[in-house]
Amino acid sequence: MSMITQQTAGAIPVAARPQESRDSYWRIVGRRLARDKTTLFCAAVLVIILALILLAPWIAPYDPTQGRITQRLKPIGFAGHPLGTDELGRDMLSRLIYGGRFSWLIGITPVVLAFAIGGIIGIIAGFMGGKVNMAIMRVTDVFYAFPSVLLAVAVSGAIGAGILNVILSLTFVFIPPIIRISESVTTGVRNLEYIEAARATGAGSRSIIFVHILPNVLGPIFVYATGLVGVSMIVASGLSFLGLGVKPPDPEWGLMLSTLRTAIYTQPLIATLPGVCIFLTSICFNFVSDGLRTAMDVRA
């Protein structure tokens, strides 16, 4: 398993340092981010997409589930439908906006849940050490022994389709890598001298974890998690694409891509639109994650 450890280890900017200089550290990070145009641009795109999907009921021109069968697969720019209509005559623009709600929900929620659960388990494993660490990390190894897409598909396939099940299976898949990172950072910090000094001054486990360990662990797993959202969006929509996620008639980008596959001969441009949305979201999260990683890397 040493290989996987190496792989994740590369992703960890170790910001292990005493907390008295915290303000200046975050100020440095902020200044670096302010100079990074790519990251700022991608963050702006994400904010715009988020605003669009949150304001969907006010922005979308039509009901995303209601179509007129006489208006099937109208081209982009067709009267009243700026992005055309889908295979059941539903407005594409409205479906893309509403579809983002589901795609973001099933793409981001698993990462947030895994971030919290995996982070806590990893800190426990790292802080307790010894047998507890052994037990937790060996179980983690087992789930590492599955290719992630395979595990997601197998678990979703077993528990059945549905929004909740996609979120569950993806959370399950993302917890192990987050445990690894949070464990390795915690173990690294735990043995530093300032922790020993804190303990010598009478600090209890709780205050050591909250004051000294948590701030160090949050950064690396947060950066990793933003990158994971890029992957999660693709896999979550992929599960819907396979028919394991959001069910029709609800719009979701992966599902729309799947149902529009029949239209590649007649309206190829429209058929690819949902994929563009997934791609755009994923690439922006990846660039933001890279930007954060560079900005938070104290060695750079």
Partner: protein
């Protein structure tokens, strides 16, 4: 070294067992009674009981697991509920097809990644670097099932150059390395290659620029070594890590090709999984997941061993 190999193989056994347990438990994750998937809803209770007994589903879970594992070890991966025949022969054919796709996509990604990454690493900080790195990020961010559709639209629907679906003329399901079959392989392999290409570009770029900055490279330059000899040095130092990433990616492609296989109707393990899931054919779901996961475990081990063998910096404790 022999002892090291032996020890690593011994270490693999508990992992393999635990992986089998997870695959076995998949069937019990599903809501409801697995028996419901096997028989029609209006089956008389005594027949349901008989089927339950035949599949060993009336036994306690640990007994069921031992029973299942015992058969698996002997090469009996169960019987497909849907096709009413052993899973193994079908699974072998499908694995072969998936392997062809994964190895081609993986090598393609490896090649692209090494070229892009190498160039980006050498020209670190320049616009060439930024463009190549951007391309790499795009590679890992592309929903590959969508890319597959786009390629089909361009090369099959638009240009009529390559077939859009299947793995060979006539849909025989068996693969052969001739032009008639390779035409079918190009688009799915290209689709599958973008993620490893992106990851390997980033890895190689990081390694090359790190190695180029080290003192011994400066020394070699100072000694008047020609640049292609320096490239050789850089290559040898980067190889173990790149190999490790590559091995991991290949295994990921084997297990993760389900989406691409669905887009291109490629008759591999992904298609088998897909059928098994939607027909509630649990023996097939279990067996396919198990074989793919074990392949992943074994490949990890092999990569680890090769890496240890060729990289003197890793200690062979």
């Amino acid at each position: 070294m022999l002892f090291y190999i032996f020890r690593r193989i011994i270490y693999m056994i508990p992992i393999a067992l635990a992986v089998s347990l997870v695959c076995f438990m998949l069937i019990h994750l599903s809501p409801g009674d697995p028996i419901d998937a096997m028989v029609p809803a209006d089956t008389p209770p005594d027949i349901v009981k008989q089927v339950r007994h035949d599949y060993g589903l009336d036994q306690p879970l640990p007994v069921q697991f031992a029973y299942w594992l015992g058969h698996v070890v002997q090469g009996d991966l169960g019987t497909s509920i849907l096709r009413r025949r052993p899973v193994l022969p079908d699974l072998l054919t499908a694995s072969g097809n998936t392997f062809v796709l994964a190895i081609t996509g993986g090598l393609l990604g490896f090649l692209i990644g090494c070229i892009f990454g190498g160039i980006a690493g050498v020209f670190r900080g320049t616009w060439i670097d930024r463009i190549l790195l951007g391309t790499a990020v795009a590679g890992v961010s592309i929903p590959h099932y969508w890319l597959g559709m786009v390629l089909v639209i361009i090369f099959s629907v638009g240009l009529h150059l390559l077939p859009a679906m299947g793995a060979g003329p006539g849909d025989t399901g068996t693969w052969a390395w001739d032009m008639d079959h390779i035409r079918f392989l190009i688009l799915p392999a290209l689709t599958l290659s973008v993620i490893p290409a992106g990851l390997i570009t980033r890895t190689v770029r990081g390694l090359v620029s790190d190695i180029m900055g080290q003192d011994y490279i400066t020394t070699l330059r100072g000694k008047g070594l020609r640049s292609w000899r320096i490239v050789q040095h850089v290559f040898l130092n980067a190889a173990p890590t790149v190999l490790a990433v590559m091995g991991l990616q290949l295994a990921n492609l084997m297990g993760g090709s389900i989406l691409v296989e669905t887009v291109f109707a490629w008759p591999g393990t992904g298609a088998m999984l897909n059928d098994a899931i939607f027909q509630r054919d649990f023996p097939v779901l279990q067996a396919t997941t198990l074989v793919l996961a074990l392949f992943f475990v074994v490949l990890n081990l092999v990569v680890d061993l090769i890496q240890t063998a060729i990289d003197p910096r890793i200690s062979r404790r």
